[in-house]
Amino acid sequence: MAVFTGVLTLPLLAILVSMGQESVEWNHLAETVLGRYLTNTLVLVLGVSLLVLLMGVLPAWLVTTCEFRGRRILSWALILPLAIPTYIAAFVFYQGPEAAIPLLIQVRQRFGVDAFLLTEQVIRYGLLILMLAAVLYPYVYLACCSAFARQSRAVIEAARCLGDSPTRAFVRAALPMARPGIVAGVALVIMEVINDYGAVHFFGVPTLTEGVFRTWFGMGDKIAALRLAGIMMLVVAVLLALEQGLRGRARYVEADAGGIPLRRVPLAGAKATLAFLLCVVPVALGFLYPVVRLSHWAGLYFLSDAGGSFFPGGAALGRGFGLALVTAVVVTAMAALFIYAVRLRESRLRRFFGRVAGMGYATPGAVIAVGVLVVFGTLDRVAPPFLPLVSGTLFVIGFAYMLRFFAIPLQLSRAGLERIGKPLEEASRLLGHPPLRTFLQVDLPLLRAPLAAAGMLLFVDILKELPLTLILRPANFETLATTAYSLASEARLHACAVPALLIVAVGAVGLLVMNHWLQTSPTSSKHE
């Protein structure tokens, strides 16, 4: 356990240790830009968190507990925005501020410069928050769906019998019970927002992440940059601790694990239309709009004379694809082991290890990449010469992905475990089964759905991953993401739309498969 966490956190520790060293620029940063970075980061985190709750929780509730026209299609379509990388969504949504230029000019002419600057800022921040929320809300939606679906009918009906309206039953019974899931989902969203670089830079909203790169690469002060990265981890840790504190000593135990499934309430007329609209808006913003835009650009590209000349070899892309697949499977297996180890003997220390192992998700990919480079570079230097070099191989990238994304299987299965609670496990142990057998025969089957889902999510996330892949990849190694990035940095938006659409297509298929697994798993109530 300690060994594994050690291996996993070595690069993060390498970063943390160097934070304590003397920094030349720290005071200068604190006096000049730190305040702005923090404010921007918090504004984005709060804005996006609120929006993802709206876009994630309500549709999840409607889709799992009500029946209306289009419900079945929407229930899976609502996941699809997760297939759109934020750096691609940024290009698409930046069309907004650009399209607003004539309006802005009008405002400037009629109401003066101050009104203009205010309008400009509202449009830009608003669109950035909307865009981030529109592609990230599925984390919350997914977590809520599985939480709502497994809430036994008994609880909701008890609430109804006590005189609650459906809305009150939702607010008083369903929502509090889904809390671990909602929190897990929002935590993932917050971490994504905090370490985003491309989108915030493009929209001119510098956050702590931009500060990290600017300080490190522009000023050459690694220590100050790492301290900024440390603040980012701190922000996440504080938010999570806050939630834990608010939750107090409450524990979540499934009252009736095999309970009677919920029967969906049929909706009709205006109610059905409203439900449909509430569910369709997030999909339209986070998936349909970007896909339509990208398809339009890709179409223009193929119509032009340059069409088809740039595309990297299928072999290179195949390797990127294979890497994502293998890493997703391995990381999920590792996470299962890790959870087992933590569960084996719960202690403060082990739970702390669990937190640390998940921190990679809140760290910018480039920072992780550097930590990994340091560790493997040192390893190669001290290793006996007959051993092959590790640096520059796919193993390094795979390891870095694990570090970066370990929180996904951890969070998803942790929420699952909390809902399973201890009774089943204690029963098994009382029957004399050893811990490993208990884990394999009791916990693991119950965790199969969250783990499979996590694996698929990992696959999609790795496929979209950019900063870490760019730094660590072996020579002549291209993924769809790096190809899209190269074209975008040349501002060849039309050509860029082709690999971007491919990422979206593969990601969307992956997500649908994941959803299918979740639906047919033994822990979810399936009644199609």
């Binding site: 930046y94 230029i101 000023m219 480079l373 193993f395 990849r473 790096t482 990035y485």
Partner: protein, 341 residues
Amino acid sequence: MQKRLLFPLLAAFAALFPGGSLRADDELTLYTQRHYGFDDTVHQRFSEKTGIKIKVVKAAADELIVRLQEEGANTPADLYMTADGGGLDRAKKAGLLQPLVSALVEEKVPAHLRDPDGHWVALTKRARVIIYAPDRVKAGELSTYEDLADPKWRGRLVVRSSSNAYNQSLLASLIEANGAEAAEAWAAGVRKNMARPPQGGDRDQIRAVAAGLADVAISNTYYLGLMETSNDKKDLEAAAAVKIFFPNQEGRGTHVNISGAGIVKASKKADLAKQFIEFILSDEIQSLYAQGTFEYPVSETAEWSENQKRWGTFATDQVPFSVYGERNAEAVRLFNKAGWE
């Protein structure tokens, strides 16, 4: 118990990823910041001519420096290439490059565009200019970079974020020319004159001028070249609505950034690497770049593209590029103080 499971799994993980291919003599590995699809064409030409294959790792300049440092003597890299001069200087300071001795380089590349110790050499140039809307800016109104801080431009100027290396090296050139105090005042003045907070890339600034949001933008010329030859109708219209002005022609000349390369210290193929650099400096490839990426050739005998000829000739700032590398951190500090995001 868990260790028994852990190690086989780790081993399986490792076995899935075979190491990189053994180093062959007919291969060169490039660590490059340049993300241009056009570079592949040049690499292919080199391979056809010499039989040497080019392998590439593309990432940001300073990320590649970290990678070179950590890989040390084990690095597969032979050449380090950037799209901005500052990175080359930092790689040299980190002791990652080795000197290159070549008569051809000395003949083709002006002294201020290469390292005095031969650790790196410019391969192409990019001019950072003023792009303006001719219907709203009179020709006599524009003069120097310094003038852009004048209150007459209040609310009329757009420029990208100061995190961008081109802006950092422009400010470094102003520190060199006028001193730190004046440079900070300049950055603050320009920030006040901005029509909107910095956002997007150079191309988005050109679009903003074309759309009428601002009257002038600071941008590299090649972005305009790419827009002029784009297959996007919007790009063509925007490019047609603006003009290029080369600042400081009366004085020290227009600020020019470079894209260049150096041979990695740990490389055992310095001869092949030199061959590659000399190939890129040949007039044929130099003018190919002028047409493909609209960067300016460093070789004076290479032909410019039609677009570049139309923009016109200009005098360039002759300060040795290494100076900008040294002043980069100071430039970022001044940007921070001036509030230019």
